[in-house]
Symmetry: C2
DNA sequence: AATAGCACTCTATACGTAGGAGTGCTAATA
DNA sequence: TATTAGCACTCCTACGTATAGAGTGCTATT
């Protein structure tokens, strides 16, 4: 891939910016009118022809202007991130922080509210994954007698999330037996991540099937069940807002996207592979990963509570989205969320 | 409103059934072809003209067949319910019961799964409201020390639902103090509905502001906070399926519906006013209640656990939906859910 | 190397026409 | 008197044609 010369770069970015702004194939005259770098339409035309050959632009038909290819968007976004010449309205920024700060400090509520916020300010689909279940650190387990052969378990994590679940027992236990089981589990596992706990349980159960105490082996089995139940999840908000975008005129596309989102599995898989170390990331053309997401992009950023909890949050919208505005919005929302969560 | 004569009824229902089946304005020849009651097209035409005058049918334009008005659907559905000549595939019925029976007996999961089931078998939007929070009967409250000034509360209802919530305390309490508070609350309120508890708390707090024990008054305040938090909710599934219906060609309509559904408030209000005593109910033309739901209908039925819990469940779809199939589906799903919940 | 000029291409829009489905009215019929 | 056949009429839809406009690529010129 040869490096583009300065002028070619400029023309490419001008075209993409115009297309993002106007949603219409942009021709040589349009570029000249909107960005008066002293070039004649003819010159711009030949540059455009070059960019088309290189694969950055394409024509819907012979006598139309150019529109960006996915490769074009990729280039555009990368050069934006490089130059970092994006701007965010300071009033909006203030509102963003205020809104997140106003929420009660309950992680579950926080996650919902963040996805709403993202959707609200971006007019895209807001997406937030709570901290990964496997990485959560166990703080405390509590077991309460519930029905004859069942116990209510309460699982408190270091990050403040609480999960409850009904576990089935092999035989009736008294409340004091349940307390003993809970004590054992707390002594053994508090402070460890769910992943570590899972591993240890598997090890202990395999090692001494017969040797150990019935109470203990039952405790292990209960705990195993508990942890399995703690599955990953994800929250999406703002289908309405997103569907108002001019790009969603294609009803087939909208249905496809709805379907994928309702399915969640694919999205979760994709999100689980996001690289936490990288900061903000832009996936231009989700279609190459999830077929139904053709011509869609995702801007995503990690967040943490500065302890163990790490999650991802961002937006999904048309590849033609206004990156210049939206990348900073996602970025600042992630910072704001991290900050608020760290204050606990 | 004059009663229609037998033949006119027949023609009206034939036209509506045809329109539901084919989604095309139906003319006199069509009726003759599909339903050979010995009438000539000319006769059918004059009957149709009469029905149009009465407001049951309408013409998209002068030289087209007739389509039903909302009043027409109303008449059609009422006569269906009256004659009760609806049929349900017994294989489908079997699957329906099997599916609901296969779910673990956790009310929350049950509700999600029911709305999925409804959506799956109807290709409409499935809608289920969990039992009304106010009508829930308190079984047991448990308080656990959580952080300095906070306690984790676990609220178990008779119907098996568990809610947890973090309550803020005015000052630090020890675990044993919390236990005392919980005991007091259990002694006072277990077995009452949330609504009753709310009333009693309001009464007690107002009656003896100074007289009573600090612990008790705190207990009351905590409990109040808990109960307020228990708000009504609703679950919707199957936007994808519904959007595949041929009626949803209008993108504007689909967006309007999405918006309303995302909002939830209007829907909840509507559902809270459903008459439990009536069994299955059909709202033809939701548009008259919720403007964005033009030309949509709702088939809805109550369910119970044969104790205190009562909720509503049903489907939302185009006014042109196949009532003959879908009314029995909703009906049987409600019966199945009631049966499964009653088995606990 | 950049530009002006020009012929060419393709789309979107409007318009006109023909075909067809369905009606309402009227007169004939059982 | 209720029903029906016949017929003129209406209106939608599909399809073909014509036209304006936007934008291009190529070529000759600066």
């Amino acid at each position: 891939m040869k490096e583009l010369n300065e002028r070619t770069k400029k023309v490419l970015c001008a075209i993409i910016q115009s297309y993002i702004d106007l949603n219409v194939p942009v021709g040589s005259f349009m570029v000249k009118r909107r960005f008066s770098f002293g070039l004649s339409p003819a010159t711009i035309r030949s540059t455009m022809a070059g960019l088309e050959n290189l694969g950055y632009l394409t024509q819907p038909h012979t006598s139309a202007g150019r529109i960006p290819t996915m490769m074009g968007y990729r280039y555009y976004v990368d050069s934006l991130l490089m130059k970092n010449n994006m701007n965010i309205n300071s009033v909006l920024l203030h509102k963003l922080y205020k809104r997140l700060r106003g929420i009660q400090k309950n992680l579950n509520v926080m996650v919902i509210e963040t996805s709403r916020t993202l959707s609200f300010y971006s007019n895209c689909i807001g997406i937030v994954t709570p901290p990964k279940a496997e990485e959560k650190v166990l703080k405390h387990i509590k077991l309460i007698k519930y029905e004859k052969n069942r116990a209510l378990s309460i699982l408190i994590s270091e990050d403040g999330t609480v999960n409850n679940n009904v576990v089935n027992l092999d035989s009736p236990y008294t409340q004091s037996q349940l307390r003993k089981i809970a004590n054992y589990l707390n002594d053994s596992f508090a402070g460890l991540t769910m992943l570590e706990i899972k591993k240890r349980i598997a090890y202990q159960l395999s090692r001494e099937k017969q040797a150990c105490d019935r109470l203990i082996s039952n405790a292990l089995i209960i705990c195993k069940e508990l942890i399995i139940w703690e599955s990953d999840n994800m929250l999406l908000e703002g289908l309405t807002g997103a569907s108002n975008l001019p790009d969603f005129v294609d009803i087939k596309q909208i249905k496809e996207v709805l379907k994928t989102i309702e399915d969640k599995k694919l999205m979760l898989k994709l999100l689980s592979e996001v690289d936490y170390s990288k900061g903000i990331q832009v996936f231009v053309d989700l279609g190459s990963i999830i077929p139904s997401m053709k011509k869609m992009s995702m801007v995503i950023s990690p967040y943490t509570d500065n302890k163990n909890a790490r999650g991802t949050m961002g937006i999904i919208g048309p590849a033609r989205m206004n990156y210049k505005q939206l990348i900073p919005i996602v970025d600042h929302t992630a910072r704001a969320l991290t900050q608020v969560l760290s204050e606990t």
